[in-house]
């Protein structure tokens, strides 16, 4: 997090304008990052309402802290760090068990090659309803520790690189890989019946 980014931050102009008090520029940043951060928070909390509330708090905090942002990292890693920290704090307060409140699955899943693959032929998933699959996946995710869920969310679902995740979490890449390994192993156990 302390390394200045090698490439210019693509958000630099919006950041500078926001720091000068241009709220429209900050709106643009919010609009740009809301879908990404929503996915991160949602997959960590498995609750839509909590996600929306938390996202408000995250952007409000980012806005208040923006004047102190000095470009030592990209805005992308900075806002992700804020989001992850606030989400983890929220989860500690909320406690382990909560009612899932899941988003709708878009129709695109029907055409996803991975979905077609796992639900075709001899796959044990071929009879599984999409919503049942969604519920099982979310339950399995919620069984992971928060640290493990974070790396799975960032790497597998959001598609971030190990190096970015290590910057966001402030841990080494080795730690990220190790957490991923143990998280995948646990998920494999939780979803064993889908693999037989």
């Amino acid at each position: 997090m302390s390394d200045r980014p090698r490439n210019p931050d693509p958000d630099q102009e919006l950041i500078t304008r926001s720091q000068e008090g241009d709220t429209r520029a900050f709106d643009d940043l919010v609009r740009k990052y809301t879908p990404k951060l929503y996915g991160m928070v949602y997959n960590m909390t498995s609750n839509r309402e909590d996600t929306a509330d938390l996202l408000q708090d995250i952007f409000a905090k980012a806005y208040r802290s923006l004047k102190r942002f000095q470009g030592m990292s990209t805005f992308y890693t900075w806002i992700y760090s804020i989001s992850v920290n606030m989400t983890l704090n929220f989860l500690k307060k909320r406690g382990r068990y909560t009612k899932l409140s899941l988003d709708d699955v878009d129709n695109g899943i029907q055409n996803d090659p991975d979905f077609i693959k796992v639900t075709s032929g001899d796959s044990p998933l071929r009879e599984v309803n999409i919503h049942e699959l969604q519920k099982r996946l979310n339950e399995a995710m919620m069984k992971l520790s928060e640290d493990h869920r974070t790396v799975v969310t960032l790497y597998d679902i959001q598609g971030l690189q190990h190096s970015d995740i290590s910057k966001i979490l402030g841990v080494s890449e080795g730690t990220v890989r190790s957490r991923l390994f143990y998280a995948h192993r646990q998920l494999q156990n939780y979803l064993e019946d889908f693999r037989k």
């Binding site: 709220t23 996202l55 709708d104 878009d106 899943i109 693959k117 979310n138 597998d156």
Partner: protein
Amino acid sequence: MIEFDEIQKLIRLKRHELPPEGFVDDFMTSFRERQRSEMLHRSARGLLWERVRSYFSEVLNPKWAWATVTVAAVALLGITLRPQTPGLQVAQNQQDSFEVTAFTAIDPDAVIADVQNYLKAKEFELDGAAAPPQVMRPRIVQPRQGEMIPASLGNRPAFTIQH
């Protein structure tokens, strides 16, 4: 990671879980509302804080820093090392104080009027004439039963006490 390839493919299907349509627009609207109300809420405090900061930034100008620090240190030392004030000692000692049947609640207007009267009386005195009685009349007479006040306060011209 190859051994977990299947499980990763399953987990990646979660990318298809999306917020309801129009979520981003609704979110932006409520975020702007929250931002505006926070800005309004903070503006008064922010303004005060900014004034305090700018005041101290002038006071703590490097040119004056040593002088400011010295004055502050002397003041602090003075407060710390100062013995109990004589006034308080007197007040605690029954012999040096007197009980009044009445005590004054100081009205600022009365104080100003008394000072003006006092100055007028001085003018008469300088002219070698006697001041008319209304000029010398004390104004502050709002006594409270049983109050103890230091004797040293009794002879101030502007704060005359009536028994």
